[in-house]
Symmetry: C2
Subunit: 584 residues, 2 copies
């Protein structure tokens, strides 16, 4: 049956031995006293919550879905109780400022927490999924009464929050938004408009819901420079119900336990968060973390699919394999894990999941350093690294998560198509992560057009230098460095080629992002291999764990290293013009 075992051993390996995070924490005063043991204990507790409380609700939650009636939403059985336990455990405040009631732990641990939540129950995780972003927003922008009333409640998770961005005609393009806010004369605003695809716009998990709404003040400029951010609570401070209503919930491909709401603001009372017309930059404050978290969902999908496929492959017996287990001569058939095609799928899934974990945690560590390192130069370098890693993590890991779940489904044969087995739900749940929080195509444009080309590849070069240093000491260092160099050359070609054909980078952006991602994954494996080798040389007790790492690093080099040249070649191929399509 479907199960989720938090990958605590691998998380500890990545955090302690690959990232050497405890040493990094020692350099950052805000994490004073945090060591690997404490971090591991926090994650073990989080893992228990994910595995014991959330995972059992995942399949039933998908079948039951959310129910809408007269503007009220009922979440699947158990979701509300699980959320109360989550708040009581203090999990929402894990990486929040201790001055506001937070625990002050690194984003890196919050990343590991959210990887586990999403792996266990992505639909449930949608409810607290935007909470940390809302906290960041309030922490930076809420003042006076607003701060007093809302910051602590959002930090603790007592009240959940939404991000009300999308409108029916405006998804990726927020400049088209039409929702309006008019001053009421008492410092508050009346908000009018309709928003769609609002996750957790209505639910039965918390007493109040704090909506963060992008709207346009009277006389604001057109486009994205005329958007303001307003805080609109479901219940007003005087106890009255605010004029914000959930008109419907969507029937979706997946995430059926998560209420995706159509919200109507009908003169709803709200207050400005941050400056007028600067709503988008207030919201962009939380963009890197939000995108990283979507990448972590992809990682969670990949991990849980891998675990279950591995178990299924050892249990399902079907046909004889060309190489059979010793002593099986008389058996009519073998466990499918012996079949080469299945074995290859499983190796691939494992190599992707573990390499992807290193990549995602690198990004989380960069966010911590960018926010908390005492040295300004280190902060600036980490900030640049995070800016480049974030779109790669978001796009690559959500793609690997969805494709990995889809590939894993095949391990069950026809049974994989049946809901009861669990895997088809992951295929459905994982698809949206490639779209929301900026589609993967937009991530690719963000990376190449906004972050690589404008400075002629300088910041990219710094990231590649940093990655190169990570490969130090690995048996595969030379090959990995050649890959990094090839990405550098590819970027240089795009910089000069864009002068001749300004559209080429747009046509090539997806493949460039994927190329950088593959080069970094190779680098993550080189780093993991070097760490595993060092542990074995140092006489670490858990030899089987490290030897399996070395085998997977070898698999990566043998089977997956072809992905990078493929992507680089595709960037070159995209030099060819793409004519406008003939009319319908």
């Amino acid at each position: 049956m479907w199960h989720y075992a938090p990958p605590l051993r691998d998380m500890r390996f990545v955090i302690d031995e690959v990232l050497q995070a405890p040493a990094a924490w020692a350099d950052m005063p805000v994490f004073d006293g945090l060591d690997g043991e404490t971090a591991a204990e926090v994650l073990a507790q989080a893992g228990r919550f994910a595995a014991e409380v959330l995972a059992p609700l995942n399949g039933p939650g998908d079948l039951a879905g959310c129910r809408w009636r007269d503007g009220e939403v009922t979440t699947p059985a158990g979701f509300a109780a699980a959320y109360r336990a989550f708040v009581e455990g203090g999990w929402p405040a894990l990486a929040c400022d201790p001055d506001c009631g937070g625990q002050g732990l690194p984003q890196l641990l919050n990343a590991a927490l959210y990887e586990m939540l999403a792996a266990a129950n992505h639909a449930w995780t949608m409810y607290p999924g935007l909470l940390h972003g809302a906290y960041e927003c309030l922490h930076a922008h809420a003042t006076g009464d607003l701060r007093e009333r809302y910051l602590a409640k959002v930090t603790s998770g007592e009240w959940l929050s939404t991000m009300c961005l999308t409108e029916a005609h405006a998804g990726s393009d927020l400049g088209l938004l039409r929702t309006r806010a008019e001053p009421n004369g008492d410092g508050s605003y009346a908000v009018n408009g309709q928003k769609i695809f609002i996750s957790g716009g209505e639910h039965d998990l918390t007493d109040n819901i704090v909506h963060l709404v992008l709207a346009r003040l009277r006389g604001a400029p057109e486009g994205t420079k005329g958007l303001s951010l307003l805080l609109v609570p479901k219940w007003l401070p005087d106890g009255a119900r605010n004029a914000v209503h959930c008109d419907a919930i969507e029937k979706k491909m997946g995430l059926k336990g998560s209420a995706t709401c159509t919200m109507r603001f009908e003169g709803a009372t709200g207050w400005l968060l941050g400056e007028a017309h600067r709503g988008l930059s207030a919201m962009f404050l939380m963009m890197n973390a939000a995108r990283l978290h979507v990448g972590l969902q992809g990682l969670g999908h990949l991990e849980v699919s891998t675990q279950n496929a591995l178990r299924q492959a050892t249990e399902r017996v079907q046909s004889r394999a060309p190489r059979r287990p010793a002593g099986a001569e008389a058996a009519p058939a073998d466990a499918v894990i012996w079949h080469p095609a299945i074995r290859r799928t499983l190796w691939t899934l494992q190599a992707r999941a573990e390499g992807g974990r290193v990549l995602a945690y690198w990004a989380a560590q960069a966010l911590d350093e960018a926010a908390a390192h005492p040295d300004e130069a280190v902060r600036a370098a980490a900030n640049d690294r995070a800016a480049l890693l974030t779109p790669v993590v978001k796009s690559l890991l959500t793609e690997l998560g969805h494709a990995g779940a889809d590939q894993a489904l095949g391990v069950w044969g026809g049974h994989g198509y049946i809901h009861e087995m669990g895997i088809e739900q992951v295929v459905r749940d994982s698809r949206i992560a490639m779209i929301y929080e900026g589609t993967n195509e937009i991530q690719a444009i963000d990376l190449l057009l906004r972050k690589v080309l404008p400075d002629g590849g300088v910041r990219l070069g710094q990231l590649l230098d940093w990655a190169d240093a990570q490969a130090e000491g690995a048996a595969q260092a030379t090959r990995v460095r050649l890959g990094l160099q090839a990405v550098r050359d590819c970027a240089a070609g795009l910089v000069s080629g864009a002068e001749v054909d300004a559209e080429w980078p747009y046509r090539a952006a997806d493949d460039f992002l994927r190329a950088l991602g593959e080069a970094l994954l190779a680098c993550a494996w080189a780093r993991s291999e070097a760490a595993a080798r060092a542990a074995l040389a140092g006489g670490a007790p858990d030899r089987a764990f490290y030897e399996a790492k070395l085998q997977r690093a070898q698999f990566q080099a043998n089977y997956l290293a072809g992905e990078l040249p493929r992507c680089l070649m595709a960037v070159e191929r995209a030099r060819a013009e793409l004519p406008f399509l003939p009319a319908l």
Copy 2:
């Protein structure tokens, strides 16, 4: 909104100009008098049925699903009436022997019919989907009373049929089957056992259901050589209800309008079809056609996804594109079809759909020639070609169908995740085609291990020679021929490499199949390009159609030709050992 426009123009191009089927029909006496006009008229009628009757039932059928109650199954509203119309139209008998009430038309036209049915409503198409196979089986093996009672009813579709193969522990590996049949002494048998995943095992479309059941007679050998095929009707000739019961239907990822049944045979009365213990070879008779039809489902998914994505991309306005339509300077945003990433997706989908159609119809034409050509040598060559093309069509087109639908979903942005839009259903419906009728991994083994390696690549070489001749006269002929040669070399490498490492071909089989498929797709495009060029040179009136073909052939050469070297490289990479996975 979701729509389906039968691609009649492209079908006619492929059938008349690429395959030059009318000339081929003239060589086969059984198709005497059939010309391109007549064929086009048949397909136009079929297209109307698919678009007007079936397509409107597709989305509602998915939401309603099938209902099971006390062993009875209710299909979604409209399914039964549509089936009656299908039978009244004579569609089940399209490619059946006129002596049995069939229309005697080529498999090629039946292929085009089933492409349209699957594109319009895959779930509904599951009910008649196995009918032609059942007809083939009865036509070849039913004698005496059995033939008298069942052949005409199955030919006309008045009674639907099932294939009862899978059991809970035996999917891909039929050798493990346990269902038993004992002689009753009157020529009939008592069948006992449980079958799962039986499509249309119970439903409300026809009065009777004719189950074809694989079972083991007493004293039969173990494994696949001990299986017999029995005909077990739901209602016995004397009007009594037979002891075959539907115990449950599955909750599946997709195809919710198709009842996937758990069937219990409790001393059910059946009659032997063909010889005892030769059930599998009786069933394999219809294997090529059945596998081709699954490939056609993939083609249908690809086609309908492409059409709808194209329309959506012209209607959805979002952000400014780097190159904008003339006169759009003042508009705040452009139709997404102008965005390079979306444009590239659409070109890819179109190139895959149209190239895939040529490939699938080549296989159908080979089946016709293998069955009906008067020259034995031509029949034998066509039979070999069909044997090699079939696993490629099944595996490649179902993969492209599912991946294509999944990629198309992105054109809708977040809206693609909503049921109402239609595309997410295609993603779900299409996944099973990669699994049933022999998983795609089994197709790859069938191709490489059973059909290429055993004769040292001789038959493959003949297929490649044939393909090479297809490229004759194309501007891209040289490049395409180099690709075919590379596949030939790859196969030669596998033949000799297998002597050293017998497992290598198993590890490389998926990539080898894909490589052959990509080489054939390139060839299909070269052929299409040459045909379009000839039409333009001949002053064909429909210039826009042919010019668009040439543009897509160019896109194929520019953007998709990298797939073949990628697959060939992957075959090489698979030389590396794949160790057994460390224990859980």
